[in-house]
Amino acid sequence: MSTAVHTHVLGEAYKRKEDARFIRGQGKYVDDVQLPGMLYGAIVRSPSAHALIKHIDSSQALQVPGVVTVITGKDLEAAGLNWMPTLPGDTEIVLAVERVLYQMQEVALVVATSRYAAADGVAAVEVDYDPLPVVVDPRKALDPDAPLLRPDKKDKQPTNQIYHWEVGDRAATDAAFADSAVNGVVVKQDIYIPRIHPAPIETCGCIADYHAATGKLTVWLTSQAPHVHRTIFAWVTGLPEHRIRVISPDVGGGFGNKVPLYPGYLCAIAASLKTGKPVKWIEDRSENLSSTSFARDYHIHAEIAADKAGNVQALRVHTLADHGAFHTAAQPRQFPAGLFHICTGSYDFKHALVEVDAVHTNKAPGGVAYRCSFRVTEASFLIERLMDTLARDLGKDPAELRLENFIKPEAFPYRSALNWTYDSGNYEAALKLAMKKIDYAGLRREQAEKRTRGELMGIGISSFTEIVGAGPGKHFDIVGIQMFDSCEIRVHPTGKALARIGVQQQGHSHETTFAQIIAAELGLSPDDVDIEHGDTDTAPYGLGTYGSRSTPVAGAATAMAARKVRDKARKIAAYLLEVGEEDLEWEPGRFFVKGAPDKGKTIQELAFAAYTNCPPYLEPGLEAVNYYDPPNLTYPFGSYICVVDLDRGTGEVHIRRFMAVDDCGTVINPMIVEGQVHGGLTQGLAPAMYEELSYDEDGNIRGGNFQDYLMPTAMEAPRWETDRTVTPSPHHPIGAKGVAESPTVGSPQAIVNAVVDALAHVGIRHIDMPITPEKVWNILNEKGLTSD
């Protein structure tokens, strides 16, 4: 029996266990699954952004060879299936009945024997629409003459305003601003954070497979939260939850896109219930970009009050949030704007006030947390933009201003003006490391010298603080379910372990990193620990993977479950070695008698004994489960510095260097952390310079395919540079904070700050994303800076 002891499992760059299937093309994604007798669904969608539905004629479609049935909203209504709960408590219709509220809204489902027949059927469904006035600009949604977009809930909500929410001390904040207006400095900025889309390369889809004989519904689903989806399916269909099985197999990227419930899923379920056959529905790219949850779309006005020396005093923010046709924003119910009020960021503000007004428009619904913990991206962007503006007005270097205003390392745990308790941080150390690695002083000298020659170079800093890993369950929920997470570990008689976790991976590498956590706790090799996830029939209930909560919450559950296993192993060791438990000492992989290191039992021997020679006073076996409700969130942070050169002929922005220093607490696998940072940075570059889902005045979406929605390729993405500091979370069992969203949250403002910095000397204070060559060239042209 192996007695290998593994002492350095955490922090090792183990190669990924999941790679073996993916590099062979043997991953199993939802669309790879084919079931006997399977039918295919395709959706008839609205061409109009706002219209009454006069008539739906399916008769021609039913004549199309291969078409089995056409399902409309009225059919679903009759079956009680034409509604879905949204995360914040709205109700979303599955198939439009009276009216359509946005272009590409779902109107009918065609079910056929092949993909092609289903598409033919969609083309043959005739729908008559009567156009209505369209609300595209959220600033006009509250005009008195604006059409009411949601008459279905006019009793509860008589206008297009979904909510007004505010947090903070208004009187103290206003007083601080009044004081700074006289005795200090106030900076203000309007910022639009455009509507973008997570756009994983695999679109959303499912196969619903209902067996009438057993009453069992199996749903293969592109899901980041399979247990929550199961519960919602039970609520909506009325089927008993123990007869619903959600399988989220390999998932080709999620980034928040695969957290919500979409009408296509319910359509496939309804079709399987009706036909008794498995029904597959896979959306195409245009459907993905145009109808599933967008992100951001915040119109922000932000102000900082500071004293003359530049010490920040107060932050005041008002935001208009465009939520589209339904209130489907991803957020816990206690926090209508999610964690947006983390916007005091890394700085020691005394007072703050944040107000958010959310409105309906004739656009696709959403407001998903795209690689971000519930609006922390918007929050971080505004504060890092404003700090640069403040530095400019004070004539200070933006790094210097940040260093002066950071929350000090000794101030943690730190209670923010908006009532968050930051667990740990050392912001100075991260910024100073980034400055050293990129030679900040040298870059500033180069910039000054270049400016004399008329060359445009900019340096942008972002010193962000994140807030991730929701719960605690008393404050955070998804459709009312508290945000805990879970792990179940089974150690087999031969000393190998199988663990199942409540979160699900879509590129996160859980099968490797969670094996490392268990291996470290039990002294096993990660090769001897397999991780399973995504099947609700086998995995313990969990809230899923989003908001960087896998490592902070399910990772904690995994460590705690492993410790339960180890505690039982200690009892077995005491029995076998005939000593008291208190006489035993643990080294990774082995208990031994204090003072007699030769007298011991390995974890493998103890696992064997648990099944073969268990103490009579213990239950046999060596298994444990843990449901972990975190006592607090975790607060990863970092400092990024971006260097850009502007092309005066074309307006193009060239990112010369980008240095990212992250602090995610304890690092489980540095290779995977670095890989996640690379990917997240590229998803920050994307909105900063390329991606936007905009709409024309008629509500036609622009950006509904990959020719118009410009996802960065290898030609646009720079060669990212990374480093890290390590400030463990004091409340997480292994000190880990989560990492994968930090770079997406922290990087756009570094890029924008750099471009604005390159143009600050001609009076430019802000440029809204995406910073396209056209926008830059227009500025250059206006300022007389263009060259041939």
Binding site: Y29, D32, P200, D250
Partner: protein, 170 residues
């Protein structure tokens, strides 16, 4: 819908079928032949998840009709590994952490194989340009570039192109 008889060699195996004229190659490969390693990400020739080699050339199979593959030699991701030995590009993606969710990976690897056949010693810029028809949302490309460099070095060192049987020249 007219049916057409096609004979296509994929990864060294001859497949014969009667397909609709409008059947896309990627659907035939995935749904009829059950070679599901080739993926679909955009339907519009933008993302490259469906990239395969047709007569040795990297080709986006979502925008090619199956009938056009008649008589041709095709290689998919399933044909990279030979006699239990990974192709250097597969090894490179594993060693250099060139994949996260794995969805773009098969198409990315097939594009890289074609690139390295054209240019066994590409610069970083040539690699970036060579894979610019393939989108990856997860990795930020840094480690994909490294993975291709790893494979290039391995392949130059062994002076062979173990790219599987059944393929033609370019």
């Amino acid at each position: 819908m007219s049916k057409h008889h096609i004979r296509v060699t994929i990864n060294g195996t001859l497949y014969e079928d009667d397909v609709d004229a409008r059947m896309l190659l990627v659907h035939w490969i995935r749904d009829s032949l059950h070679l599901t390693g080739t993926h679909i990400g955009c339907d519009t020739t933008s993302c490259g998840a469906c990239t395969i080699l047709v007569d040795g050339k990297a080709t986006k199979s979502c925008t090619m009709f199956a009938v056009r593959a008649d008589g041709r030699q095709i290689q998919t991701v399933e044909g990279l590994e030979q006699q239990g030995k990974l192709h250097p590009i597969q090894d490179g993606f594993h060693q250099e952490h060139g994949l996260h969710c794995g969805y773009c990976t098969p198409g990315m690897m097939m594009t890289a194989v074609a690139l390295l056949r054209r240019n066994p010693n590409p610069t970083e810029q040539e690699i970036r340009e060579g894979i610019s028809g393939n989108l990856c949302r997860c990795t930020g490309y840094v480690n994909i570039v490294k993975a291709i460099q790893y494979a290039a070095e391995k392949m130059r060192a062994s002076e062979q192109v173990p790219a599987g049987s059944g393929e033609g020249g370019e």
